[in-house]
Homo-oligomer: 353 residues x 2
């Protein structure tokens, strides 16, 4: 018998992070009798005066939201990062080798995508999605002026710790480079030094030739289930041209991005006929003090990390072995891509709207 990716366990390498992942396709046959998630399919009202993300509503801290009709950004009322903290000078806090720390500065913003609470990206118009992208760019430029890293991310769904159904994302900007982009910076730089081409651009071109993991594609963007995908239906969204930051996108690329985000999220929703939960976010070249270094090794990209495995209620648990050993997945990246490709491009709720 020959070795076969869809039959035989193997480890795959993630060249962006220098990590491996264990793929055990034969394990999909395992029955599941553990915890299932509840599906909150209660209808969400378009406006709810007690929802602090709605237009014109008073937030718990007393501030009143603008009567916004597109996107709306405000400072997080319970931020993990604050712009000002005192210098660490006390002698008792000297940095020992095994007890190293650094004070951190930053800011946390909440960005509402749309005035209506009952809309998600796949149900919005292209124009509405374009407004989100334009706001992302504006925020990235504004915060990137001051901070070395601006992390845009969306937690979608209660299962992803999202406590409010109103469509929104968060933006956490920091004086430090967080682990994930720091490692990717390293591996992309190393590749660039050897090949004089960005790693992710070479990767995208190879995927275009192989045609095995592409989920959606248009004239400026591609979405693949990456070779090294960790989450069952993880995807990677990358421009076809070398673009280091979101603010460098052309207006055609922005139109095209809105279109591909809608197509991808429709497929996601259709897969298990549910408002598909995920965490998604953007990585591009660093900013702040790092903006003027050479960042040509970077390629802008978004990642979608959805937790569901088998249905709208059974997720992949990243626990014991995954926490202590390494990430493990049951279906191959190719199988996941195939399932997503075969989803219709029309949203399963399209008739209702």
């Amino acid at each position: 018998m020959e070795f076969n990716f869809t039959e035989h366990q193997h480890v795959r390498y993630n060249p962006l992070k220098g990590e491996w992942i264990l793929v055990s396709p034969h394990r999909l046959k395992r029955p599941w009798s553990g915890q299932v998630e509840s599906t909150h399919e209660d209808p969400i009202p378009p406006f709810d005066p007690s929802n602090p993300l709605c237009p014109g509503v008073k937030r718990p801290n007393g501030e009143i939201n603008a009567q916004y009709d597109s996107t709306f950004v405000f400072e997080n009322d319970f931020p993990a990062l604050l712009p000002d903290i005192p210098e660490a000078s006390n002698a008792s806090q000297t940095n020992e080798e095994l007890f190293k720390f650094e004070p951190a500065r930053g800011t946390c913003r909440v960005m509402c995508f749309h005035p209506r609470s009952d809309l998600t990206v796949p149900l919005m118009s292209i124009e509405e999605i374009k407004a989100i992208i334009h706001e992302w760019i504006k925020q990235g430029v504004e915060l990137g002026d001051k901070y070395d890293w601006v992390q845009i991310f969306e937690n979608k769904g209660a299962i992803m710790g999202c406590s409010n159904p109103h469509p929104h994302c968060q933006i956490w900007a920091s004086s430090f480079m967080p682990n994930e982009p720091r490692i990717k910076d390293l591996y992309q730089r190393e590749y660039y030094e050897t090949h004089s081409r960005p790693l992710l651009l070479d990767y995208v071109n190879a995927e275009l030739k192989k045609q095995e993991r592409i989920v959606v594609q248009n004239s400026h963007w591609i979405v693949v289930v990456p070779w090294w995908a960790t989450w069952p239906f993880e995807t990677l969204l990358v421009p076809l041209r070398h673009v280091i930051r979101m603010c460098d996108l052309t207006s055609e690329e922005i139109d095209s991005l809105a279109e591909i985000m809608k197509r991808l999220t429709i497929k996601y929703d259709n897969l298990f006929r549910t408002s598909f939960p995920y965490s998604m976010g953007w990585h591009g070249a660093p900013t702040g003090r790092k903006a003027h270094s050479n960042n040509q090794h970077w390629q802008l990209h978004a990642m979608y990390y959805p937790p569901l495995l088998r249905s709208s209620t059974v997720k992949k648990f990243m626990v014991g072995y995954e926490m202590l050993g390494q990430a493990q997945r049951d279906l191959t990246a190719e199988q996941a891509a195939h399932k997503l490709v075969s989803q219709p491009e029309v949203h399963y709720k399209a008739d209702e709207n």
Copy 2:
């Protein structure tokens, strides 16, 4: 104002993994209105003929469990790792730089801790816990003969993907060194080369002096909330002597380990008056082909990664920022240690038994 660890956000360094973690103690004030976990406090019968982990029961694959009266080990019926897979030889599967893979070999075992389904470690006798440790050692030696890495881990609680309340752990042995121990091997080796002492032993000695993060301690072991803890109530269990693998423990150290495991898990259960969920597991020097290299930089240790944050139903979500940026925590390691220390050493259910 002076910089203060319990007031001001900062990043802390994990010298075992070369990673940072964001600590935002002021964020504990945030109210929580998101997903809560259900607490399955249905009484668990000591024996259930339909539970495939009970003694004498027929498993779905037709095998019948031994009438065991202590621990019991069998091969996982749906293993993520199998001992034999064909060689990868086809030309189409040549390793390209951005599509690297390796075939993986291994084995997955399930180890029942006790014949009764309704007992957990904190409710067992010291003798019963010692039986678990002896079985861990036996399995480690047996599998370590053949495999480079033997990962012992316990997923406890439905929230940790554990589908069976019967007390048990898993043992996954592999021909490859998984990411987590591979990185720890690197950082421990580097430290040893500079200091000629094991990193974790230096760390333990420093913690003994500082007395700020110790949860429980006895003549041979210490449990701390490590300086770099990621999960809210994460702990690290380390022998006070230099021990590279579990099979090198003396019989006094084994007795002592049983005692400290009981004390720690009683405190965990008492914290939120619930059977405290976690993933825990052991790391020590590698085995198999790697057994005969110099492994003096290693120090045996166990980690407990519990997901709960505020109560028996509110967990810490490691989502958006954590997945895309870096881990973030709300209470400091010192605050968590303090909360655990102040728990009684008698189990809250002690009266019922």
